[in-house]
Amino acid sequence: MKRTAQLFFVTCFLTFLFGVAALTLLMPKAWSSYYENRSLTQMPTLTAESFLSGDYFDSLESYLTDHVPFRSYLLKLQTLLQLEVLRQPVVSDVLTDSDVLLGSHSYNDWDTAYLSASAQECAAGIGQWADAAAAGGGQLYYVGLPEQTAYFVDRYPDYWRDRQWLYDPTEAAMEKAFAQADIPYLSFYERFRAEGCPEALYFASDHHYTVYGALAVCQKLLRTVNDRQGLSLHVPAEEDLAFTTLPNPFLGSRNRKLFCLRPMGDALTIAQYRQTVPFRRWDNGTEVAAELFLLPETAEETVSYTVFMGGDKGETVVDTDRPDLPSVLIIGESYTNAMETLLYASFDEMRSIDPRSYQGSIADYIALHQPEVVIVLRDNTSYFTALSGG
């Protein structure tokens, strides 16, 4: 029996080693990992420098672990073990020990004295765009949104050190700095907290707001613009919109990191104007279909936040051809997408810039197009992350 057991083990051991090696070499290689939302390491190039430094073998190891056969299935199995067997509260940097999926972070506190200077630096940088807008007769507004982790800050479990200690003084510093710079600053962190952070406004399994959250921001923003600039932009009301909840499974960004094992009951709802506003659309200078939503072809496909405006684009232009209305430029990351599907209808032309991929100078862009309204929209975890694009 001992010999049989030995032979069995050796056979399994060698089959495993040689089998994985063969499959690694033979199976086709992917370029990206859907669930991890990242590009996979490509085969490193052997150079004298990388060889001598030993970097080549490190890169080769990264390449190999990124191209393990059946990698997604194996990673999903590992995630399942962590969630269901080990019951770990934090898996893939997502805190799962709550009724919403939240971002995890260290227990470290730090001195917040720097916030004032950082906020002033931020306001000074935005001030250059505000000046460019003012030179063309426009007005810039800075919209500060809570990221989902900040929105649901009260939903962290008792043992967790949430970051309200950071968010509160950050908002205070931003409001003060923007007031000093005379730039209208709309803080939705405080506003939503005052309203009790209604669940419907943010996803439970994604770091974005929902269309209801976008609508709440859009309404407040347009009222502020009307008051400040004496305009009469149309402020969309819920009755103006037809809300459609897609039957497709929703893949939130946090649930995506968990290989869809924690959907949290989220579904994607879109809002379309009952009274259609016709428009033409250009992405990065090329005219594309006049659509605001990238809808799935079947009800079985998963959908994500990228349904709004078809995801992030460097530059998008939506022209409703109503020259009597003002134009708007909205600058920001993915939070602008859901907002744009509502905002365009109140303007003649809506331009949108995502500074992560737009290559030119945003100040020059403002000077060139002279929009009457410029909106910078950012979430509170990225206030002090430099916006590129000038």
């Binding site: 029996m1 001992k2 010999r3 049989t4 057991a5 030995q6 032979l7 069995f8 083990f9 050796v10 399994c12 051991f13 060698l14 495993f16 080693l17 040689f18 994985v20 090696a21 690694t24 060889f51 001598l52 430094s53 030993g54 073998f57 080769l60 190891e61 190999l64 672990t65 393990v68 990698r71 194996l74 990673l75 199995l77 590992q78 995630t79 073990l81 080990l86 019951r87 770990q88 509260p89 934090v90 020990d97 260290s106 227990y107 470290n108 506190d109 730090w110 008792d158 043992y159 967790w160 050190r161």
Partner: protein
């Protein structure tokens, strides 16, 4: 390259196994040459420029081995000087230059990257020439065999420090067998499991805690426990893999660990922990200095020298010196001051005493500066100002690994085998380890591909 890497497991090892066992057993020279070539390639992967250093070490020790056979003292001193010069330059030059600078003796601080495994292969080289000088081993005339002894990949970068006399015979005459291969492969998978599943997860926990600026006392103790587990499973797991790999190729290396956390004194701990290093210092430093067969003052000197060197061997930094001094003082205390009291204490109290001091020792080892050490110890022994909830999180996130680590640090395997033997459970005795080994292999594989956190503590020594 480390054993717990994809490149090693699925390409290096598979290719070596295929080529090695394709060569007929009678072709011993060919098999040795293949092992040497792969060992040098294994070392080359960590940074090819230091391969020359390794080759130099081989050449120096080969030549001094032949010279030391004449048993002239100068040959031994010259061999020791050559080896220690290499080690001293690459590992300690910057440290001593900084020390001189702090004493206001300005000297340039060289920027030297520590070659992987230099402490291990230098000590093996020294072991060879000293054994030859002492007449305990014959000088090896085959350069290939000396090269293979010094560079053999299983123990090259992290030990165990294999004594030349322990493998001299097997370098030229060994028999690979199914028994050895199966036992070696099984040992390897258990070592891999210790490293990937326990050490890496406890390492994440330790990093979590040691990276927190303001700790509560409970979190600080949990962090210290986690590091205590991490360093044991990291190093003993690697030793298991090394011993297992050696056995697959017909070598029988000595054990490096013997359940050190069962110890009831610090003296016993150092008989169970990193036994190949303790044995090396005992045989080549402590006993030649006079050991314990001399007056009290000389004994104190001998222990102090050995533990200063042990501390420095682990790293050229003050925390390692302090760590060595800490254990030196404890060992002297146990020998001269509180031995009787310790002997009279109940077993549980002795165990608690030993573990407490060992855990504090690892905190010393882990903290990279005296300031960090002071802050950490203050958190452990006072009511730290940290967030109490962190301990709950740590237990929820890593409690399983702490518990599994506790079990794995006990001789459960021996207990289970004895129990099964008593009940004549032959099938379980044969198949239990096999099934467990395969489960560990699968889980380790999952851990390997899913986590980029795969450090190896002793790799830097």
């Amino acid at each position: 390259m480390v054993f717990s890497s994809y490149l090693f497991l699925f390409f290096f090892l598979t290719l070596l196994l295929a080529l090695y066992f394709l060569l007929p057993p009678r072709c011993r020279g060919g098999r040795n040459a293949l092992l040497l070539a792969f060992s040098l390639f294994f070392y080359l992967c960590g940074g090819p420029k230091y391969l020359l250093l390794m080759l130099l070490s081989i050449a120096v020790n080969y030549a001094f081995g032949l010279l030391c056979a004449g048993r002239r003292p100068w040959t031994l001193w010259a061999a020791a000087a050559a080896n220690l010069l290499l080690l001293g330059w690459f590992k300690y030059a910057a440290f001593f230059a900084q020390l001189l600078n702090s004493l206001r003796l300005p000297v340039p601080v060289p920027e030297i990257v520590l070659p992987v495994g230099i402490s291990f292969f230098t000590f093996q080289g020294l072991s060879y020439v000293i054994d030859v000088y002492r007449g305990e081993a014959a000088a090896e005339r085959s350069l290939l065999r000396v090269a293979l002894y010094i560079s053999l990949f299983p123990q090259l970068v992290a030990g165990p420090i294999v004594r030349y006399t322990a493998v001299a015979g097997e370098l030229s005459q060994r028999r690979e067998s199914l028994d050895d291969f199966a036992a070696g492969a099984l040992r390897f998978t258990f070592g891999l499991g210790k490293k990937m599943l326990l050490a890496n997860n406890l390492g994440l926990m330790a990093d979590d805690v040691f990276g927190t600026l303001s700790l509560s006392a409970s979190a600080a103790w949990l962090g210290a426990l986690a590091y205590t587990g991490q360093i044991y499973f990291d190093f003993s797991g690697y030793s298991d893999m090394a011993i297992g790999l050696g056995r697959m190729f017909g070598f029988h290396f000595e054990e490096n660990f013997n359940y050190p956390y069962l110890s009831r004194s610090i003296t016993e701990f150092w008989r169970r922990w990193h036994m190949s290093l303790s044995g090396w210092f005992r045989d080549y430093v402590y006993i030649p200095l006079g050991g314990s067969r001399c007056g009290t003052a000389k004994q104190i000197r001998n222990v102090a020298v050995v533990w200063l060197l042990t501390g420095l061997w682990h790293g050229a930094a003050w925390n390692f010196v302090l760590w060595g001094a800490y254990f030196g003082v404890l060992l002297l205390g146990e020998r001269f001051v509180w031995r009787r009291a310790l002997d009279r204490a109940p077993g549980w109290a002795r165990h608690l005493y030993a573990m407490l001091l060992v855990i504090l020792g690892w905190v010393l080892f882990r903290c990279e500066s005296l300031t960090a050490l002071g802050t950490y110890l203050a958190a452990m022994f006072t009511l730290g100002q940290g967030i109490p909830g962190q301990s709950i999180y740590l237990l929820k996130q890593y409690g399983f690994f702490l518990l599994a680590g506790l079990l794995a640090s006990l001789p459960v395997k021996g207990w289970a085998e004895a129990a099964l033997r008593r009940q004549n459970q032959e099938a379980l005795l044969c198949w239990g380890p096999v099934v467990l080994g395969l489960v560990l292999l699968g889980l380790s594989f999952l851990q390997l591909i899913s986590s980029s956190f795969n450090p190896f503590i002793y790799y830097r020594f």
